[in-house]
């Protein structure tokens, strides 16, 4: 018996899917922003002269990059909640995504910072910039500009990774898919549609990142 595709189920449930997409976007955006802050802080520690700070940042990066996100998520949601504050599934999801993205961001930003020529910093200081100003204008901004492609593709990976938080019942896109599957049994149609939505999200983000690059880093043409 040939299988009859019925994509009707997708149209019938589009408000639910839209809610899922919205949570996916929210989680990814928030985790990216907070993860970037973690990344900048971590990269500062990684490149600092203080050995303890360097060791802590290195341990953080290696621990996260060498364990699966699923285990990090379950550890935060069940493990940490069992000891102290009980986290909701969305809070745990956001925390796990932030911690994960932060570790990758540390490595990427560190590479950018280390590519900055020392003489640039000396020039900045001799022009009377304060250390924080030097860091912001002379180190961080050109660093981010040079690692922009690596950073944005890591953001796409984070968005794709966020599908895993469905495993702790955070109601994002994949969770909605699992829910619809259990009610309608149109397995293939649903996951196929969801895969397409993820591709659409990834492509739109890449486009957005490309457009932003021109606006944000116009100064790089003078470097």
């Amino acid at each position: 018996m040939a299988y009859r595709f019925q994509f009707q189920v997708i149209w019938d449930n589009w408000p639910l899917l839209a809610e899922g997409v919205w949570l996916t976007i929210q989680l990814s955006a928030l985790a990216t922003l907070m993860g970037l802050a973690v990344g900048i802080l971590g990269a500062l520690c990684r490149t600092s002269g203080n050995r303890l700070l360097r060791a802590i940042a290195t341990a953080y990066v290696e621990a996260i990059r060498n364990t699966p996100f699923l285990v990090q998520l379950l550890f935060i949601f069940f493990g940490i909640s069992s000891l102290g504050p009980r986290l909701g599934s969305e809070q745990a999801a956001l925390l796990a995504l932030t911690v994960n993205f932060g570790a990758y961001a540390v490595e990427i930003i560190r590479a950018g910072i280390q590519a900055i020529d020392k003489s640039q910093i000396e020039a900045g200081l001799s022009l009377g910039f304060k250390p924080l100003q030097v860091f912001r204008h002379i180190v961080l901004k050109p660093a981010i500009a040079s690692i922009y492609p690596a950073l944005t593709s890591q953001m796409v990976l984070l968005m794709l990774l966020s599908s895993i938080v469905s495993q702790i019942s955070a109601e994002e896109l994949t969770f909605v898919g699992n829910f619809l599957r259990s009610r309608t049994f149109r397995d293939f149609e649903i996951y196929f549609a969801i895969a397409l939505i993820y591709i659409g999200l990834a492509l739109s983000f890449k486009l957005l990142a490309h457009l932003l690059h021109k606006r944000l880093f116009r100064f790089t043409q003078y470097l």
Binding site: M1, Y3, E62, A63, R65, N66, T67, P68, F69, L70, V71, Q72, L74, F75, F78, G79, I80, S81, S82, L83, V156, L160, L161, S162, S163, I164, S166, Q167, T174, G177, N178, R181, D187, F188, Y191, F192, I194, A195, Y198, I199, A202, L203
Partner: protein, 214 residues
Amino acid sequence: MRDFTNLEILFALLWATRWTLLLSAIAFTCGGLVGFLLLLMRISPFQPVKYISWFYSEIIQGTPLLIQFLLAFFGLSILGIEISPWSSAVIALTTFTSAFLGDIWRGSVEAIPKGQWEAAKALSLPYFQQLGLVILPQALRLAIAPTVGFLAQVIKGTSLASAIGFVELARSATNITNVTFEPFFVYLVTAIIYFGLCFPISVLSRKLEKTLAH
């Protein structure tokens, strides 16, 4: 019901790790073979074949691995065959691995200067000898470090097989947690086991990168 000692939990997790290792090994091997085919298609002078390979990589790299697992398990049932978690996990991981390895290897081949192709052609070698005798041996040198590094990604990726009911390390951690109510300890040990598998691979990959890159 009896209590489990920490040592028993540790051994149960280590025992479950064999499935993680086996799945990684099979997926990496199959993915490598398919990935090599994708590489050949991607660098072929025949345009349509090139675009099929490019399209495949883009689609796989643009969707979450978890969705690939779910599609391979629930979605493939439309073919009318009962598919086991074990074979769908292998299928999902193989497609995932092949797309990334194909792309990594393409990068290595494209890093070889055009003059090498031209020189091989000038010696009137046929296409596959140009590739096999001149280009690939040089590309191999560049490809080894990122390929080894990607193995760690595959090992981490196997944890998602737990979502379709395949009992490997992550899934048995959840099962053990459900019995012992010690999520902190169980997931911590699980994370340490994964770390023990992936960290040496990452370090090796970085070392290889330093020695082989020049």
